[in-house]
Symmetry: D2
């Protein structure tokens, strides 16, 4: 079976990463490649690393150009993808790497995105409890945000097991600059970011906050509130998320809470191909997952403060965006989940 796919937003980082992965996907044939202001250009000018596709021309991002494929990937600014998706055939598998269809609560959407809610689609994080099944056969999938991917992988096992308290969750993430896209902003210039760390969206303002809370709350079965602070790190790719929550009193009273906590994460991910709980004492680095769909985690219990700390690393463009999208496509179409995603991290 050869699946015909179309990729929009191909001149951006998410679009480029989708093409990088899809170019080596054994069951996929890449059809339309579209862009907005760069329509008409050779792909090789904009994505010089995609050598096997360098002579392909970018078409205009329109529903007409994208239609007629089995799968359409949308890597567009929020707002744009909902509008376009509405024009695509119902039988086409549409996978939106943007934000438009991630939030179920219209009020949360409106509060953080200041626009009308487009409705929600099945959420493409198959490692969440029960989520894989919801993606099978689905024709519409919302790819999670990169920060939520790392945060939910870090904390959902604990919430699913009832081991964590729903308030006082604090998450601090460091992201590579590709998470901010190719936008021409002075603070994203190499001269500014090299050798520098800086926070942004501090004070609970980042749009990924309600998405993290949505995922944790669904798993916990009660409202989880999160203090989330993103920071920009001097690297192109990768997210390191440090997530901490108070453990439930009954667990703290156990003889060996650290071991019980560890077992919860080990059980949650033992059958997952892409999620790796590291051996005790080994801490993850973002470099170990660069260019791959893998995530690595470590869990520690801080007895003095009664807090569990989970550190999770992903590549924001791969597991955090394009890899997650391809993984969801594989599931939706009934393919082997790891197809086209076997690539290991490029380190050092």
């Amino acid at each position: 079976m050869t699946i015909s796919v179309a990729v929009s937003g191909a001149s951006g980082y998410a679009g480029g990463e989708l093409l990088r992965l899809l170019a080596n996907h054994p069951s996929v044939s890449i059809g339309a490649i579209t862009a907005h202001s760069n329509a008409g250009s050779r792909l090789g000018e904009l994505q010089p690393h995609l050598h096997s596709l360098s002579d392909r021309l970018l078409e205009e991002t329109t529903a007409a150009n994208l239609s007629g494929h089995d799968v359409v990937f949308l890597a567009l600014p929020h707002g744009a993808s909902a509008q376009l998706a509405a024009q695509l055939p119902e039988h086409t598998l549409v996978i939106d790497a943007g934000a438009d269809h991630r939030l179920e609560d219209p009020a949360a959407w409106e509060a953080f995105y200041k626009s009308e809610h487009a409705g929600s689609w099945p959420y493409g994080l198959p490692e969440l409890p029960g989520q894989r099944e919801k993606l099978q056969g689905s024709k519409r999938i919302a790819v999670p945000g990169c920060y939520p991917t790392s945060a939910l992988l870090a904390l959902t096992p604990g919430f699913a097991a009832g081991a964590l308290l729903p308030d006082d969750v604090v998450i601090v993430s460091a992201s590579g600059t590709s998470g901010a896209g190719k936008s021409l902003k002075a603070n994203l210039l190499g001269s500014e970011v090299m050798g520098s760390m800086s926070p942004y969206g501090v004070g609970g303002l980042h749009r990924h906050t309600p998405e993290i809370e949505q995922g944790l709350s669904q798993v916990a079965g009660e409202q989880v509130t999160v203090s989330f602070t993103p920071t920009l790190a001097p690297m192109s790719r990768g997210i390191l998320t440090t997530a901490t929550a108070k453990i439930a009193p009954q667990l703290a009273k156990q003889a060996k809470p650290a071991e019980e906590l560890r077992q919860i994460w080990a059980d949650a991910y033992q059958d997952e191909a892409f999620i790796h709980l590291l051996p005790e004492g080994q801490w993850p680095s973002t470099k170990s997952v660069v260019g791959s769909n893998h995530a690595a985690l470590q869990v520690a219990y801080d007895e003095r403060t009664g807090r569990v700390l989970v550190c999770a690393v992903i590549d924001n463009l791969t597991k955090g965006t394009a890899g997650g999208a391809v993984q969801s496509m594989n599931i939706a179409l009934g393919l082997n989940e790891t197809l086209g995603l076997e690539q290991l991290g490029v380190a050092p």
Copy 2:
């Protein structure tokens, strides 16, 4: 007045930074420069950036070689500085950039450093309430750790004002690799750290944890417990600390808690030469303080979670070590506090 100073540990990063600052200090004359395994070398081989001192020879680090100066700076591994300090004359101003004399509580020392407590010295962070006075005329000063410097600058105004609750303090810091010193470890190789973020000492294990708690507790007047997670960032210098605490209920009930919080920090630092609360909406970057003794902060109130978030940036080697040491020397000797520390951040 010319002050004669000696610097030990001159082949390391802290020692090199002390010499960089002292070489341009208008009241200082650099006497002995000492090292351990590198004794006998030209300084220029080990610290090629110190052009004005490149032909100076490194002497052996001994009490005899260090004695006879007005000020002795110790930039030695912990354990070594206490031993050496005990042999230096009482009338010499000894400034220890190491950890040996920072903690007042022997039990905390023993728990985290697994060795005998050497006793505590006046703590060289003059921006803490009442601390500047304690340094005036002192003959022994313990330079704060780099992480505690950033964490205490971030949170002490709130605790001094009674605005913060003493539990549920969560601090995540990203540090440049120079904080780990010049030790030849595989995880500090350029190939490993470039393009990568990684945590370490997770779960409340880092030795700076009790030092942060000590400072916050003294200011708060009650025991403050901190969950502290350090991470290693792909840059040579700089610390970005993200610190968060719950605000006191009576403050949360005010009409404009965000403004009241902001005023607390503004008041605390309005007369400080090196500490800058940025205008609202501007977030600090570590690059803005590289090579300087300045710190920049921003404060935000997250109403949804009832938490204040403070982001603070310093250069770990300057304000976090050598600059703080020189600032304390200036105060102890009755000099202008900013002497030799006028240099601005080297950006971009």
Copy 3:
């Protein structure tokens, strides 16, 4: 057909890259994985990015442990590989990523390596004229050095076409730090290399100099002399080589020498899967080939100086070492040359 391979030197960067590529090679089964001082460790401790192999144990690097496989890859310090290779069966395909068997001239070997010459093997750069044929069916292959790979790809088309003069060849290369291996040297620490460029081996001292001259001379049919200067760049991976030579007088007199030159390179590489002459006006970046076996080049003619300038980029660990080794293995075994090497550059 499944080919059984063994990899020695698996704790280093070259060994790790070999395993990264071989783990996804569809015709390969990874047998013994060996190391020296790290024998007995889990691979996951040393190469945390190789998730699919993380539980494999490192065996001791001995001929006995490596024997019994179809292919043995040696990623060892020079000297060590020749010694080990001598003990491996003649019918085993041995691919040496080290230097021991690259140079044909014993005098050149002894002058630059100060040790006895071990004899030369077929040179694993199939893109050289006539070289691919020499690798087919070969049982011993010497993988080219990373700098020579880039330099020979840059200049051999011109020399093969008689377009370049054999003296006044000047080559300056910038390499990522992984080219220096995992050795614990102070100048390779992240704190030292980040934000810094530095030269080394200046003055024609680098051991890759005779290897570059050997390749160019063979193609030119006369002795080519090269001034080669390597520099260390603040990145983990990648080589940018800037190579320049004077063009032959008869070519300079042509009506359009720039176009004729360009055509020479275009012709030389038109059928090569991994070598890409970029469209006019587009310059290569090392990032565009990171993690891939691709090389990108651009050619310019500087009429004022009568020099051609060729810029070539490769990933030093992939096309420059492990990728080149796998490519040569594919050729030697009669497999499709690109098998296991389809991965594109990981950018941005």
Copy 4:
């Protein structure tokens, strides 16, 4: 004596660096600070590292705003500075950090800048033979380009001594991204430049080529032709220039040409405060001069090719732009040449 200075182009990198140095210059008072599109902003918004000037407002860049000061620094795009300079009083010391007044030959200007030549001013590189004297008392000074600064410091001693041949000079430079300014171009984004080296202006096209040739030719007393290739390195600041030329036949025949060559450079720079020929065997790194006005060099003779290789490092923004400008100001005004420039390199 307090000298009143005005700085235009204050929102850019060159302007920011001028302000960083001038803020600590003991004889200088900073008057007008001007910008173009950012006029009206607080300096702290645009240059957050300049804490002591953060509340200063940017005025419009006009001759009226800049007049009335003893010294005016122009850090403007080429074309703009010549136009503005023509409106400033003759008795004002005008120091142009842009290109407009560097080239003496109108034909060279027009060939490389495609615009009308504005005439040349005394060239602000006092380390060139006889150049310091030309700057004393001058009222107009052209600050050299950053690449020419490094290239001329590298090679002029050899040409002044008649030791080098005027053709076959090959120069390859690696520059930090701040050399390209704050322009919002996709190839300057952090995501693109981190982890990547790339060339540009290859083939003798870079505008600094005629400037390098002008300086070398003046010193050599004959026309020197240069093949110059600039590359972009993943760092904010710093230039590493690798320059090579053939040595004169009579020198090559000497008993010890390497020693004679070394002595030429040693003699040339023995009295220079900012230029350091490193001890034999020590190679310069750009980090050793970051933020400082120092340059470090090393010289090697490659007997096999008859070429001398000189590696020179500077900070492109300091010695390469703003530091050189302040040094020239000091000379022009009869101040101590090192005033305000004592700062050492910020390493690691």
